[in-house]
Every structure is written in C-alpha cells, then in structure tokens.
C-alpha cells in the first residue's frame, strides 16, 4: 500500500496453505483515517512446497486507488460575520451596473452615455437626468493555500500544520460551494503523483462536490 505525503510503502503479507484447486478469498474493511491519495498494490504471489524444494512467483502490477477526503468543518460563523457574508468583497466603488435595475436619477455628467439619460425625469426636472443603476459586485473567491510550513524549504515540512491547512481550505471551499459562489483554489503544494501544484480554476468545480 502506498500513501501520498510521505510516500510511505506498507507491505501486507498473507501466508496460507491450499489444497489442489482450492481457492481462497480475503476481504478487508479499511478505515480511512488518513487523508490523501492511496494506492493499493501491486500484488506479489509466491507459492512453493512445504519443504522448499520448488517455488514460483508472479506479480500483478495493477493498482487500486483510494482517495480519502479531508475533514470539512463548519466555519461560516467563524469566518464571515452575518453583515459581510462574503468577507470584504463589497467595495465602495461598484464595478458593474445592472441596467435592468434603476434605483434613481441624478444630474447628467458629460461622461454619461446618452442611452442612460432618463428622458421623463429630464422633462420633469428641466435639466438632463441620468439613470442610476444598482451596482453589481462579482461574487468571486480565490482560496490560496500556503503549503510551506517552515520559513525555508530546507527545513522540511510539518505534516500536522499542513493537514490543518488542508482542513481549513476544504472547509472554506465547502462554504463557498454551499453558498453558490464562484471560487478557485490554488496552492504551492504538489498534487500527489503529478509533480504540479494544485490549481482548480475559477468555476472549475462540479456542483455539490462536497459531502
């Protein structure tokens, strides 16, 4: 069995005796105690007589994969107070306007587009009036996970602190997912057996991908 992280190899051995044409089946229940991508395999079969005069060996190189998800915590109350459910995302300067939602009028300014002039309000006021639209702020979140647990890379990695980061990142992503936000996840930590850093692009997640 090979696990990610420390790339540990654990060997499991079964020894039994079989009569001619007899079959044996072993079933296991695995407790998923450690997050990560685990490979089960390969299998090596070795047989021989009880005296050790003859032996034969074969290998099955296929792997089975087992992916253990990180713990997802409820961090909604801890992270975002009710009046700012998206943190500090609502800024003072609106970025886009919803032209279907008019919230009022103001005096025309030279940089205003002509199509935004409210002609009825202009007639009432006697001066040019421009429609004021409701601002729309994009609901995007970038989750950045720092995989460096030490100041310098040569100091190695603290596995416990790294697992804490993964748990928090998964919890925040779960919160964003449940709330219907567009988000992405990047990290300088490597994805197992890929050699590349983690990068889930904006909107690249599947709906309801969290348990």
């Amino acid at each position: 069995m090979r696990g990610n992280g420390l790339e540990s190899n654990r060997q499991h051995t079964i020894t039994t005796s079989l009569l001619p044409y007899q079959k044996a089946t072993w079933k296991y229940s695995l407790q998923c105690l450690e997050r990560g991508y685990h490979r089960i395999g390969p299998v090596r079969l070795r047989t021989g007589d009880i005296f050790g005069f003859s032996s034969a060996e074969t290998r099955y190189l296929q792997f089975d994969d087992l992916l253990v998800f990180p713990t997802v915590l409820d961090v909604s109350r801890l992270l975002f107070p009710p009046e700012h459910p998206l943190g500090e995302i609502r800024g003072s300067n609106p970025i886009y306007f919803d032209t279907n939602r008019v919230v009022g009028q103001r005096d025309y300014q030279s940089q205003d587009p002509m199509k935004h002039i409210d002609w009825k309000a202009t007639a009432r006021a006697g001066t040019l009036q421009t429609k004021v639209f409701e601002p729309v702020v994009s609901l995007n979140m970038l989750i950045v996970m720092n995989g460096s647990t030490r100041d310098h890379s040569w100091q190695g990695s603290n596995r416990r602190l790294f697992e804490r980061c993964v748990t928090v990142a998964a919890s925040v992503a779960g919160l964003a997912d449940q709330s219907g936000y567009t988000y992405s996840v990047i990290s300088n930590a490597v994805a197992s057996f890929t050699g590349k850093w983690i990068n889930v692009p904006m909107g690249g997640h599947r709906p309801a991908s969290f348990p």
Binding site: G5, G36, L67, F69, P70, L78, L79, L86, G87, E88, I89, G91, I95, V137, S138, N140, M141, L142, I143, V144, N146, G147, S148, T149, D151, S157, N158, R159, R160, L161, F162, R164, C165, V166, T167, A169, A170, V172, A173, Y183, S184, V185, I186, S187, N188, A189, A191, S192, G195, K196, W197, I198, N199, V200, M202, G204, H205, R206, S209, F210
Partner: protein
C-alpha cells in the same frame, strides 16, 4: 473537483507561493476576495499579500498555525483557526 484536489495534496512545495499567485493574478476578476490559508506568516508572505491588495483584491488571512501569529500585521484581517482546529487534535 476541489475537494478531490485538496485530498490529493501532499506536503511538498514545488514553487514559492508568490510564483503560484502571480501565475493567475492577471486572470482574477476584479473585486475577487482572496482567502489565504497559511500555517506561518513570513516577510515574503506579507509582501505577496501586499501585491494582491495592490491588485485591488481584498485579502482575508486564515492562520492555521498554533495559537495566534506573533507578527505585526497592521490592518490585515487575520483570523486564527485554532479554536476550530485544536479540538480535532484533542487540544484544549
């Protein structure tokens, strides 16, 4: 896909965090909230955060280390996560 990606994360760093963030910074939609999860806060990390804020993105730091960060962080919003993480590890 996200939780699968996080499940596959291994505790090896393949690049400085600044390089990872710079790779996608220009494609970030304006106003995107950046939630940075870190177990340690260093001077280089603070410089990276300043770069993000200069780009117009608000930054929220979730400190996943033990206790609270020692560094002086000014007006940066930092939330220590020890209160939710310590019980998982059997700490008080």
């Amino acid at each position: 896909m996200t939780i699968e990606a996080l499940a596959m994360a291994a505790p090896y760093v393949v690049a400085p965090l600044s390089e990872v963030m710079n790779a996608g910074r220009d494609s970030l939609p304006p106003g995107t909230t950046v939630v940075l999860i870190t177990p340690a806060i260093s001077d280089s990390l603070l410089a990276d955060i300043a770069g993000i804020r200069d780009h117009g993105c608000p930054v929220l730091v979730l400190y996943a280390g033990d206790g609270v960060p020692d560094e002086e962080l000014g007006d940066l919003t930092v939330i220590p996560m020890a209160t939710v993480l310590d019980p998982l590890e059997g700490h008080e």
